[in-house]
């Protein structure tokens, strides 16, 4: 039975995994911070796949969300023609998944952005009628023109800004490079939109630039992926929309307080994907800074926090950082959802101080995995086959040791694995573009520590 009296706001928990013991003179404290949110009226526990139809369609709470779907309608979408048709079908399927009451709109993107539905610079409120109308409007979509993704994002931002909704989300589909505006224009558009809405980005086919798509998702705190075969679009869009519908709290930030004399060396999201956050700090009072995490549904994410503390004498203990999850309030204050402590204890016990926390070790490996894959593929493109072999070999080794099977599988399409344990590989002479782009796009996906 659904518990209607229970608040629909998710409950957040923060757990810190670290080895707090430092040797004499030790200054670097590493910790993995696991943040989990469990929503109201759900089973709680581990993150639910957002594919629960009852929940996605008939959610009990008042939907307080807006979604804009941005579909690439550039000329290249007609080659092959199935691409445009699949994009239309996928958008239709995504619209089917929009919950009643959620505000939505569809934007056609070329070298300019055009409202397809509902038009008039506003969002429609989802119900049976508007969903049918929107799907009707999709028939009019046709391919022709260039690609200037920055304009699409700016229009989506304007539309989402017109509605009074808490959760603002975009879904962006592109099949080609952002050729009709400068990278600076796109950068400026991303900067303007960051923090205003979250956005998932998908590349369809293989003619798009991985860095552009992952860059958009990264800046707008969404997911990035490849849909090499346009036939897979409908399923992917449905899933993305369901995940978006599962979001219940927006604009959550990770606040790190560090004591006088301490400094944050880096902050990274490390699960479900690796995402560098260090540079995204905004100051929040004395010795505290906020790092954006976007919107949350029922899910769990891990962060790797590395703090440099002033060295202290053996036997001393200090708080290296206080980690809190905060929700900004309309009046400018911040509500603390949950918090955890990162500690430092100096000891002369070598056994204690040299132990590496399993979580920290695991995610250090996962971050290196993402890094060596990207570097290895770069080397390969640049013709440095030795470098590529060494780096992708290391990637195979890391993926195998950590049990990251999905990444291992993707790697095996690019290299022949001789011995996974030692990281001995040979580059495959022929690699399809789709396999290479899939590996690059998904290189940041991580797995959790094996139980």
């Amino acid at each position: 039975m659904a518990n209607f009296s229970k608040s629909n706001a998710p409950e957040f928990s923060v757990e810190v995994y670290q080895n707090e013991y430092l040797p004499e003179g030790g200054r670097e404290v590493n910790a993995i911070v696991t943040v989990a949110s469990t929503g109201g009226g759900t089973t709680g526990g581990m993150p639910l796949p957002a594919a629960d139809p009852g929940r996605a369609r008939f959610g009990t709470g008042d939907p307080d969300a807006g979604v804009v779907i941005m579909v690439d309608c550039s000329g290249s979408m007609d080659y092959p023609p199935t691409k445009m048709r699949n994009a239309r079908d996928a958008t239709g399927a995504a619209i089917e998944t929009v919950r009643d009451g959620v505000a939505f709109a569809v934007v056609a993107g070329t070298h300019v952005a055009r409202e397809v539905y509902p038009g008039g610079g506003r969002l429609a409120v989802a119900d049976a009628t508007t969903r049918t109308e929107a799907k009707e409007a999709l028939r009019k979509l046709s391919a022709g023109g260039g690609t200037a993704i920055g304009t699409w994002l700016r229009l989506a931002d304007k539309l989402l800004g017109s509605a009074d909704v808490a959760i603002r989300h975009g879904i962006l589909l592109t099949d080609g490079r952002n050729e009709h505006e400068s990278p600076e224009d796109l950068r400026a558009a991303l900067d303007a939109c960051a923090g205003r809405f979250t956005c998932d980005a998908r590349g369809v086919g293989t003619d798009w630039e991985v860095k552009e798509v992952t860059g958009i998702a990264s800046a707008l705190l969404g997911t990035a992926d490849i849909v090499a075969d346009p036939a897979g679009l409908a399923g992917d869009f449905t899933q993305m929309m369901e995940a978006a519908m599962g979001k219940e709290v927006a604009d959550v930030a990770l606040r790190l307080w560090t004591p006088q004399g301490s400094a944050i060396k880096f902050v990274k999201q490390v699960a479900p994907t690796v995402e560098e956050l260090t540079e995204r700090r905004t100051e929040a009072g004395p010795r505290a800074g906020d790092y954006p995490t976007g919107s949350w549904g029922d899910e769990s994410r891990d962060y790797h926090v590395c703090v440099e503390v002033p060295a202290a004498a053996v036997g001393q203990e200090m708080l290296a950082a206080r980690v809190s999850l905060i929700l900004p309030q309309p009046d400018g204050s911040a509500q603390t959802l949950s918090q955890g402590l990162i500690r430092a204890v100096w000891t002369d016990d070598m056994v204690a101080s040299t132990r590496i926390n399993a979580q920290v070790a695991h995610y250090t490996g996962q971050a290196e995995l993402a890094h060596v894959i990207q570097e290895g593929l770069e080397d390969r493109k640049a013709g440095d086959m030795d470098g590529a072999t060494a780096k992708l070999g290391r990637a195979v080794q890391l993926a195998s040791a950590s049990g990251n099977e999905d990444t291992a599988k993707l790697l095996s399409k690019v290299v022949d694995v001789v011995d996974a344990a030692s990281g001995t590989v040979r580059l495959k002479p022929k690699v399809t573009e789709a396999d290479e782009m899939t590996l690059e796009t998904r290189s940041t996906k991580t797995v959790r520590v094996k139980k």
Binding site: T258, P259, Q260, G261, S262, V309, A312, V314, G315, Q316, E317, M318, L319, A320, R322, L341, R343, V345, W346, T347, D348, D349, V351
Partner: protein
């Protein structure tokens, strides 16, 4: 019983020091089960249930059935060759080497009530120096005692007061002296952990005193102690001290030492009150302590058995002119006679690698204790202790003196009995708390590499008057 053991009223979480509210079952900060270590004494209060040998982990029968073989050699020389009765006069339950039956205890005034003093005073100026610089006055409080709340076993309501209210707003960090203290006990400016109540504990009751200190190299105090007065069935007073040292490599050693010392102290009071021979009461107390530590392991997942909480224990009882000690592990008891011309003595035999090497004649004492394995203990209380072998011994000193009950945090700096005796102030029997403070100071001056806990019991006990008959 004249003395009802204090019912523990935890004012702060034993594992994280988070202040608690009345009725809390679990710590709101760390989730620790508050029923764990503290209720042991409460549950056993006024009843001997917890002291039944059956509670022991190895299911050993009652004490008399299990005299340790060869204990005669193991028991160190009696502090005084003085007037001990022949072995034939021993009672059946005391037929263990080293135990001597003596004349009935002298009658004395009623046992004093529990007057656990808790010292809450202003912090010292220098945060880095917790030395007992002015040990002259018993009130020479340590800054860390002042900052904490009541010791978990302190029944004194005065001591509990600071825990009741919120953290005083005027409190400043001991390290940077500017930051305020947050609710987690860290400085809001420099992040330094603030002293916790267990960092330094002092207590004096019924003429017995004990001091425990975190030391200078460990970040928390994993030692614990219990001291108490007890009354024999005939109304004669007795004094009890228990000192436990948590095994650092085990999980939750601080909880283990707290549970063990509380359980042993309560069991001893109950046992003596029922008229058990002190050595029998001591045996039961050690088993009760072992049971309390084992329970800690049971409270958590079976996995925690791999690294179950563990601690050492040493205890001394002075009742009716007899001095009884009991121990498991490498915490010790020493006899220091008031007449310093008389020889002092170590009363316990460590369950440690070094002691075993010496006992087996494989190494001499100097070499054995210089070895890096010297402190590896071969006996302890805890669920992963395969065979519990509690040792007890009784002595009848022929003159007044003090018994020093301590953890290795002290005897590392005064190993030989003579060395230790040299560190004991001459007026130790008259001012036991001062003596305990001085001895803790001795360990801190030596480097304070470990937690250090010292209990001082004057002999004869409070009722004994000028000396033994």
């Amino acid at each position: 019983m004249a003395n009802t053991p204090p019912v523990s009223q935890l004012s702060a979480c034993p594992s994280c020091e988070e202040p608690l509210e009345a009725g809390d079952l679990f710590c709101g900060a760390c989730g620790a089960d508050l029923a764990a270590p503290a209720p042991a004494p409460a549950a056993a209060a006024g009843s001997a249930a917890a002291a039944e040998p059956a509670a022991g982990p190895n299911g050993a029968g009652p004490a008399p059935a299990a005299p340790p073989a060869g204990a005669g050699d193991a028991a160190p020389a009696a502090p005084a060759a003085g007037p001990v009765a022949g072995p034939d006069s021993r009672s059946p339950e005391a037929q263990r080497t080293g135990s001597y039956r003596i004349a009935g205890p002298g009658d004395g005034p009623q046992a004093a009530g529990d007057t656990g003093e808790y010292l809450l005073d202003a912090p010292e100026e220098d945060p880095e120096h917790y030395r007992l610089a002015e040990p002259v006055a018993p009130q020479g409080a340590d800054p860390r005692a002042a900052l904490g709340t009541a010791a978990p076993d302190a029944p004194d309501t005065r001591a509990a007061e600071p825990a009741a209210g919120p953290v005083p707003s005027g409190r400043r960090c001991i390290a940077c002296r500017t930051g305020a203290i947050d609710t987690d006990g860290y400085c809001e400016r420099c992040g330094h952990a603030q002293p916790r109540e267990r960092d330094h504990m002092e207590r004096e009751t019924d003429g017995v005193a004990a001091v425990s200190d975190r030391g200078l190299r460990h970040h928390r105090n994993e030692d614990f102690f219990a001291i108490a007065g007890a009354a024999l069935p005939n109304g004669a007073p007795a004094t009890v001290a228990v000192v436990c040292d948590g095994v650092s490599s085990a999980s939750r050693p601080d909880e283990a030492s707290a549970a063990a010392s509380s359980a042993a102290g309560t069991s001893l009071q109950a046992g003596l009150g029922r008229g058990l021979h002190p050595q029998q009461a001591m045996h039961e107390a050690l088993l009760a302590a072992a049971g309390a530590v084992n329970e800690l392991a049971a409270q958590h997942s079976p996995l925690s058995h791999q690294n179950a909480p563990a601690c050492t224990i040493v205890s001394a009882v002075i009742a009716g002119g007899i001095l009884t000690v009991g121990w498991v592990g490498d915490s010790r008891a020493y006899w220091v006679p008031e007449d310093r011309a008389a020889p002092s003595a170590r009363l316990t035999e460590d369950d440690s690698w070094a002691a075993q090497m010496v006992a087996a004649g494989l190494m001499n004492e100097a070499d054995a204790y210089a070895d890096e394995r010297a402190h590896a203990i071969t006996g302890w209380l805890g669920a992963d202790a395969h065979e519990l072998d509690p040792h007890t011994a009784s002595f009848k000193p022929d003159g007044p003196g003090v018994v020093i009950v301590c953890t290795d945090g002290l005897w590392n700096y005064a190993e030989a009995a003579a060395e230790l005796a040299a560190a004991v102030p001459p007026d130790a029997a008259a001012r036991p708390l001062h003596a305990a403070q001085v001895l803790v100071g001795h360990a801190l001056d030596g480097g304070g590499h470990d937690n250090v806990t010292v209990a001082v019991l004057p002999f004869p006990g409070p009722a004994g008057g000028a000396g033994p008959s």
